[in-house]
Chain length 364, copies 2
């Protein structure tokens, strides 16, 4: 299957129409579209518009409650806990991050923990929202259990990404990383290609190293054991207990502080129950924000300009690849997999949307 | 060289006497001793009493300014920046963490960033201070550059540990980990044993994988290139860019917010300039602290009791090994290397301390 390139504005208009047809109002459809397309524009296909069909299915099967209204169950000037009542992750995410930003602007810091939610897209999207307001941003989420703790054989934690964004020139610092060695999406890519996984990514049902992608995915889905290793791998020799520790930090801020479901308890019934956290810190708590930004930008420049390993030409700082992808894809268009287009066509047929009218005539 | 076991109370009394003789008052000597011995009691020899000679030397050569008085250069109800004026790391650390704890008790959150300091011991010591008060604790520090950024060949970041402590039963969660794959201390152990390093820990001066411990340590000291890899290793395949990202987070909270020296600029002149950060969050910002603690303790229990990998008998939660080490060492005594005893004897001779009076007759 190949890829077809579609211009950002074209895909945005189309995605808005589809989500409106699914039943979202104009504003909400726009938020969901923006989270998905930002991922595509950063070059992260797995969390982009290819998930449209997943949202369609999980709304249909009732795992995402379209009509859910989130509820603020606890609030202080610095913090809040929100129960999303199994509503859409992106919508509560956008609301909760804006709440954290408002609190940070008024009080210096805002932290909002959310329970009973659903997949919310890329963590970096929310962290970056704070950055655009001159604040330091954080976001994390738990997810269906895929990470096996060190010396275990059952997945007990999710991919549990943590994102940190800090204002800088010429690019903001944006670090957004799963606390597993790789995401499930990467295992799925090998599965589609029919290739064995690299050693050191995954475990079989017995908790021993394994590289057969179809088996591993099946075992995770059926909760038969095995899964993806924490960052650092299978043993303490290369710091696997450290990746497991970072996965715990994600869990603490999302599912523990909100009294929500930990990753090992999500996706058990018909609903998900994913938990998130959103935080913002005003750098003026520590001095002149412009001076801090300049100090940080100088360090990032020193990193990029520091000597390269033999055979390497560039050292990246976090967020740089996303900016370069954004600028390139804005010119060239978003690469959309032909399988994704097929899935979109089925949704369009159901809702009576004329896909060609929005996307033009495409091969798929 | 073998080890001699010394009872905790005996070694504590002795350490207090030595630091008082070096010129610290009773209270300050007690704080420095407590930070060092807590590391030994956790089973982390590298950061324990074996560093006594290092403190002695760095005070003698003027890198640590004994008479420095720290200065609060910026303060809000939630935050502070402290300039340690090159004083002792443990003393400003104890003060700054208590300041963060007080702020968290009054306002919900406290974050204190410190510049122009020196090595402060284990990050976990400070995070745990908050935990003892029912708060969530954090601490991080930068250090002399040893971490090579992904695709680089010069060390630009320190080992940059981050510690997170959260109240739980029967043990608090305590995650304290360098953001490098291993610490310099582990490389030094291989160097002493004359063994090659495991593949995947270190880089040579050209930025390519290397395993010769003496060369690597020499290159780091002389800033000739190479160093220790970030957690996740040399390439993006196993997430080396993620360990590098966590190292950046340590840098942001310690050296960036405080306008201090980043790791690549420390240890250049006669002084160090290490930067730290200390933070505390009151869990009552999110609900009933006892309910949150119980929820968290249940998850930790589920992790420990989850099925083990074939051939494994235990899954640890973070902080559990430290508690077990503490209880065992309290009974058995602290193992002190005979080389460390020799170094202590030299210090005692200079200050006219009768080592045998405090430690008894020991073989070394």
């Amino acid at each position: 299957m190949g890829y077809v390139k579609i211009q950002y504005e074209t895909l945005k208009t189309f995605s808005n129409v589809v989500f409106e047809k699914m039943g979202f109002n104009k504003n909400d459809a726009g938020i969901i579209t923006d989270v998905l397309l930002t991922s595509d524009m950063y070059g992260i296909e797995s969390h982009g518009v290819q998930r449209m069909v997943l949202y369609y299915k999980t709304i249909k099967n009732g795992r995402i409650h379209m009509d859910a209204k989130w509820e603020i169950v606890h609030e202080t000037p610095l913090s809040a806990v929100i129960d999303n009542h199994f509503g859409v992750g992106q919508l509560v995410g956008n609301f909760a991050m804006n709440m954290a930003i408002d609190k940070a602007k008024k009080s210096g810091i805002g932290i909002v923990s959310v329970r009973n939610s659903n997949h919310y897209g890329i963590a970096g999207y929310y962290a970056k929202m704070a950055c655009k307001e001159g604040l330091i941003g954080f976001s994390t989420t738990n997810s269906e259990a895929i990470m096996v703790p060190t010396y275990g054989r059952m997945a007990m934690l999710g991919s549990n990404p943590i994102a940190v964004a800090v204002p800088a020139e010429p690019y903001d610092f944006l670090f957004d990383a799963a606390t597993t060695v790789v995401t499930r999406g990467k295992v799925e890519v090998y599965n589609k290609k029919g290739e064995p996984l690299p050693d050191g990514w995954t475990l079989g049902a017995d908790g021993l190293p394994a590289t057969n992608a179809p088996d591993i995915l099946k075992n995770i889905n059926e909760k038969r054991g095995g899964g993806i290793l924490p960052l650092g791998g299978a043993t303490e020799q290369f710091g696997g207990h450290k990746g497991y520790g970072w996965g715990m930090v994600a869990e603490i801020f999302s599912s523990i502080l909100s009294m929500g479901l930990t990753s090992n308890h999500t996706h058990i019934g018909s609903t998900s129950g994913t938990c998130h956290c959103f935080a913002a810190i005003d750098p003026s708590l520590f001095g002149n924000p412009e001076e801090i930004k300049e100090h940080f930008s100088n360090f990032l420049k020193e990193l990029r300009e520091s000597p390269k390993a033999q055979g390497q030409t560039r050292i990246y700082t976090h967020g740089e690849k996303e900016v370069e992808a954004y600028n390139r894809i804005l010119k060239e268009g978003i690469p959309v997999n032909q399988n994704t287009l097929k899935e979109m066509k089925l949704i369009c047929d159901e809702y009576g949307i004329d896909m060609e009218k929005y996307l033009g005539k495409l091969e798929f």
